[in-house]
């Protein structure tokens, strides 16, 4: 079922100081397609969890409406909405066995014992939990608890699955494994899902689309590729991955690319957010892995930027550089691959920096 949020506003106020309002969500409008997995991504306090709780019905928006499958549900309490939530703390009922936990939803729907057991067994099969039916929750590992929480949420075949930072209590390795698991289950059941996280690599791997939020506002909605390579603004570019912002001036346009003047020459930017005309100042967003480095040679070719290597860190698969470029405030970050064959550039060396048209994305100076 599709989910639609329309002009949602939500603020909280301190009961002791009602004038002291904190905006949690501001004018949020969003449409989520049937079967789609959408992630709310943002720093803590950006309103992503609040939005999730508005969809589930645990919070009521101060204005705006929530629609599920074409029906307005804004006035319905959580237990009347066809949504299921996977909680950050898992919220497994500590006094019930694993089987009873998973069977709680079907039991509430008035199924008989046999039906409940069958339904539970089926879901446990899919989730690789088969032998844990009679276990008590405190005998489960973190990953198993996570699976039980997920099984309990999907067994009712809800129209919408809601994930509230479900992996934040797991260790790194298990987290990566569970990401794929969650994505697999979501696709198996084809349930429209909303996933809240502050971990960008998690968002990149599980989502069809990502909603980047900051201070209660939507900063960008797009596929993981769009979010990473065509950020809509400074915040998104800066929040997702590592990035360089290079000040530049637009000088013209040719063949759908903008011609941009850098410190060392004129380059092309393949995409831009907003419209620019000749003479405008802009920022070029370019990722460290898109930069090509070459040692400066006397009389040799000049790059778009020239600078001096200030720091060089050998990681193993890659080498990371920080390069001071005159006129660029923070040092440029660059990554090179295959150091065994390509070699290193020593600290203190002068380097020429180049990048291609597709890697350069223009945003307005903030």
């Amino acid at each position: 079922m599709s989910v639609r949020l329309e002009a949602i506003h939500k603020y909280f106020s301190d009961p002791d100081q009602p004038d002291n309002r904190v905006t949690a969500v501001e004018d949020m409008t969003l449409e989520i397609q049937e079967g789609e997995m959408v992630t709310f991504l943002g720093p803590s306090g950006c309103g992503k969890t609040t939005t999730l709780r508005i969809v589930s019905g645990f919070e009521a928006p101060n204005s705006g409406t929530v629609w599920i499958g074409g029906k307005e549900v804004s006035h319905l309490p959580p237990n009347k909405r066809d949504t299921s939530m996977v909680f950050q703390s898992y919220a497994i009922f500590p006094h019930l066995s694993v089987g009873q936990n998973i069977g709680f939803g079907p039991e509430l729907r008035g199924m008989n014992k046999k039906q409940i057991k069958d339904a539970v067994m089926e879901v446990m099969e899919v989730m690789n939990l088969t032998d844990l039916y009679h276990r008590s929750p405190d005998q489960l590992s973190g990953g198993q608890q996570q699976r039980v929480a997920l099984a309990r949420a999907v067994i009712n075949r809800p129209k919408v699955l809601l994930f509230d930072e479900p992996l934040s209590n797991l260790d790194a390795k298990l987290r990566e494994q569970m990401r794929l698991e969650i994505r697999r289950i979501q696709k198996t059941f084809g349930i429209t899902s909303i996933y809240v996280t502050h971990d960008q690599s998690e968002a990149m791997t599980v989502s069809d689309r990502i909603v980047v939020m900051d201070k209660g506002r939507v900063m960008q909605v797009g596929t993981p590729f769009e979010i990473y390579s065509r950020p809509a603004n400074y915040f998104v570019a800066d929040f997702i991955g590592r990035v360089n912002f290079i000040p530049c001036t637009v000088v013209g346009a040719t063949d759908g690319a903008l011609n941009v003047q850098y410190q060392g020459g004129i380059g092309d930017a393949g995409s831009a957010e907003g419209s620019f005309s000749a003479g405008d100042s802009a920022l070029t967003v370019v990722r460290p892995e898109s930069l090509r480095l070459a040692k400066t040679e006397a009389g040799g070719p000049k790059g778009l930027l020239s600078g001096v290597v200030e720091k060089q860190v050998y990681i193993g698969a890659t080498v990371e550089y920080e390069i001071v470029v005159p006129g660029v405030e923070t040092p440029i970050q660059a990554v090179t691959f295959n150091p065994v064959e390509e070699g290193f550039i020593e600290t203190g060396s002068s380097v020429e920096i180049d990048f291609g048209m597709k890697a350069a994305h223009l945003i307005p100076v903030q």
Binding site: P78, S84, G105, L108
Partner: protein, 568 residues
Amino acid sequence: MSQRLKNKAKQQILALRRLSGDPILLLTIVAILASLVLFILYPLFEVLITSFRDDMGRWSTAPFERFFTSQHERSALRNSLLLGVATAIAGSAVGFLFAFTITRTSVPFKKALNTIAIVPIVSPPFIGAMAIIMLFGRNGLISYQLLGIRNLNIYGFWGLMFAQVLTFFPVAYITLKGVLESISPTLEDAAMDLGGSRWKVFRRVTLPLTFPGIASAMLVLFIETLSDFGNPLILAGSRFPVLSVQAYLQITGMYNLPRGAALAVVLLIPSITAFFIQKYWVSRKQYVTITGKPTSSSIKLVSRPVQWILFGLCLFVAGIILLVYATILWAAFARVWGHDMTTLTLRHFQYVFGVGFSAVRDTLIIAGVSTPIAGILGMVIAFLVVRKRFPGRQFMDFTSMLSFAVPGTVIGIGYILAFNKPPLILTGTFAILALNFIFRYIPVGIQSGIAILRQVDPSIEEAAIDLGADARTSFRRITLPLMLPAFFSGLTFAFVRAMTAISAAIFLVSANWNLMTVQIMAQVESGRFGAASAFSVVLVAIILVAMMIIRLILTKGFSGYKGKLLQV
């Protein structure tokens, strides 16, 4: 300012609108608030109103003026306060002695000492006074039979204080034991490691950390002593008037309601004051050392000689308690206490199960009905206070805890004033006793319920709602099972209190509905110690059996249960 009020009103309306989506929840809240007003505040209000009337029913401050004119009433106030302070200090000292000896030394028989120190809680609260008369009175076993003294003066301050310390020190013991157990012994080890002598470590580390607990115990004991009715009725006599007994005598003896009410109001003021100090000041000063895992005590804070002195003192107190119970037990079987004590007989028990049996039956019915209701109600209130936002939440919290502070005498007078006239006439009925017990004995359940709920992740309940449970189902299937330890400790407390209640109940019993405690009191007053003792023995036996049954249900039905049964 007006904007602020407007905002506040707006939020309340918003909260109400949310509640209206759940009519059962709304109804529950309204019903609880209404019954708290009706059965706690309204009776208190009636006491206050009545205390400002003169003998003709006109508005007047005459009942209070007597405190300036009448020597008798002034000394009642002075005696009550004096006793309250003295018992609070002495009782806390004995409680600390037991708590410290049991938690910080390695003396033998700790388990037995612990049991003996708790026994007075599960007995009628005037057993001490009974035993004193039987041992030291005119025909007392020790005073007359052994020593030949006829007129040892046990009536008055010293006898009364002795009985009250015996009755109430267990409350201090339980509080202080909890506090001492929560202080990690590693702190004391550390202090000693830094070169402190034992005495210095005790004075500079242990005692200061325990101080908030001691202050809290003293205030609770002060309230209990002030409210105490049974001991002074037996031991105070006319030369040592105290407020609670004087209020009772004014009302049941002189039929002077305003004067009784005025005495009740004067009794209420110090109790409420102590309650506020305890709740809003001392309880915030508790030190809690959280270590995660229990730290093993190395127990070397006390040197050997001191340890044996402490042990000796504990044995002495334990000996007195055992003497009291042995006396009661003996008296229950002796033909005539004080005259023919060696002929053993069952005739007192024949009396209890014959003529007196209606009181046993009534007590069981009333306690049996009011206890589960108080238990459930306590959990519901704890849940609402911790988990829900609604107008009147703080009012609910405060009012339901108020019963801790209001002396039974005051609430008893309030009930006969409030429910002896329309709109609600309840005097003489089963309901007035049951309602009184329900609303007086919910606070312990509420307190432990709140403590547990604060530790339960709210998303566990949200998960139930999210899966389709309504508020009622979620409470029944998820919240209540998680609150079981609190529920059972509230249940035990309510049952013990309902079985041993006297101060409020004595105003509310009738020919149709009587109580064992009131019967015991009547037997004592007419000097029939055999029957009184037999009643007491049966009463304690019922409580012990009931506690055993509750424990059995717990261990068989809820193996995960780890809480304590009796928490005060």
